[in-house]
């Protein structure tokens, strides 16, 4: 996690907006936002939250102030206290100069002991976009864990790592988007979604996902 490298790579890839979505944490998103200041790149803080069903849900927010209460709920409900962290890579905390300032003490690779429904409601209550991650994957996806998209789940979109999905897999009217799911800087931009927006703002993306007020998804 090197904020300046992330910003540089996103700019090289011609991206206008990115979301920083660590697993069950958002501590480093602020450093990326600061590193992007003045570059023209808009950075949204987010999290990829793992539910008790092992379903990954993206929560993307407009500001660090908006995500903060969600971060606190997630931290309070994280499973895996006492997990041996020597088996996982260092969970570094960084600043906008790419300097390591510390290490996250909680085991972040586990799940939050909340249902997927509770997590989606938590995200939406705080003004975030709730998007089910990589629904076409064989693990940690809404489809793999729960078989199909629960009809009462108030998701804003489904994210898929491939462009075309079997229609039978997704009997849903939810919009489909594609993101890079980058786990290293080199993967940034490998997939993206174009939006027609008036401004690079989360509220505009929400309109585009709904196909409202002339905003729309251009390609995914």
């Amino acid at each position: 996690m090197y904020p300046r490298r992330i910003v540089e790579r996103a700019r090289q890839e011609g991206l206008d907006m990115i979301a920083v979505t660590d697993h069950n944490a958002a501590d480093n998103a602020g450093a990326v936002i600061r590193a992007a200041a003045g570059t023209g790149l808009t950075v949204f803080p987010g999290m990829e939250i793992s539910s008790e069903e092992d379903v990954h849900i993206l929560g993307i927010f407009e500001t660090m102030e908006a995500i903060d209460p969600v971060l606190k709920v997630v931290a309070r409900n994280l499973a895996g206290a006492g997990a041996k962290t020597d088996f996982i890579r260092d969970q570094v905390l960084v600043d906008e100069q790419d300097e390591v300032t510390g290490f996250h003490s909680q085991f972040l690779a586990g799940s939050v002991l909340m249902s997927v429904f509770e997590i989606v409601e938590l995200i939406r209550d705080r003004g975030g976009l709730a998007i089910a991650s990589h629904v076409d994957r064989e693990s940690f996806s809404l489809i793999s864990q729960l078989g199909f998209v629960p009809p009462d789940l108030r998701l804003d979109a489904l994210e898929a790592s491939v462009r075309i999905l079997p229609a039978a897999l997704l009997p849903t009217a939810l919009p489909l988007v594609a993101f890079s799911d980058a786990h290293c800087a080199g993967e940034i931009g490998r997939r993206s979604t174009g939006f027609l927006l008036a401004e690079p703002q989360l509220s505009e993306i929400r309109l585009a996902l709904a196909g409202a007020e002339g905003r729309r998804i251009l390609d995914a």
Binding site: I143, Q145, G147
Partner: protein
């Protein structure tokens, strides 16, 4: 072997569908990935899982399974319970793990 016999032999809790325990069992399956259970869940079988999301009711009905057995003392979510009652689908429970339950069911003669 019927559900009622298994409820008695394993001291299972009956959360829903108590009126449908006369159904004979053709086998059992254990799994928490609902996509996998959709692919492999046996008709007339008992499904052992720790998933409590309402989607389990739909998956059990889709595969015409006889009942769901929740392991590890997991209790069905309120919505799950309501849907199971609506569909008259038995949901059973036990404090034992999936492994323990599968072993005991096998020992009782439920082999598929």
């Amino acid at each position: 072997m019927t559900l009622a016999e298994i409820v008695e032999r394993l001291s299972l809790k009956v959360y829903a569908g108590g009126g449908r325990l006369d159904r004979p069992l053709a086998g059992a399956y254990a799994g928490d990935l609902l996509s996998d259970v959709i692919a492999r869940g046996p008709k007339d079988g008992l499904w052992i899982t720790i998933q409590i999301h309402p989607n389990i009711v739909a998956v059990a009905l889709l595969k015409d399974m006889a009942a769901i057995l929740l392991a590890n003392g997991r209790e069905p979510a309120a919505d799950t319970l309501r849907r199971a009652e609506d569909e008259r689908l038995p949901i059973l429970g036990s404090p034992l793990s999936v492994y323990e339950l599968a072993g005991r069911l096998y020992a009782l003669g439920l082999h598929e």
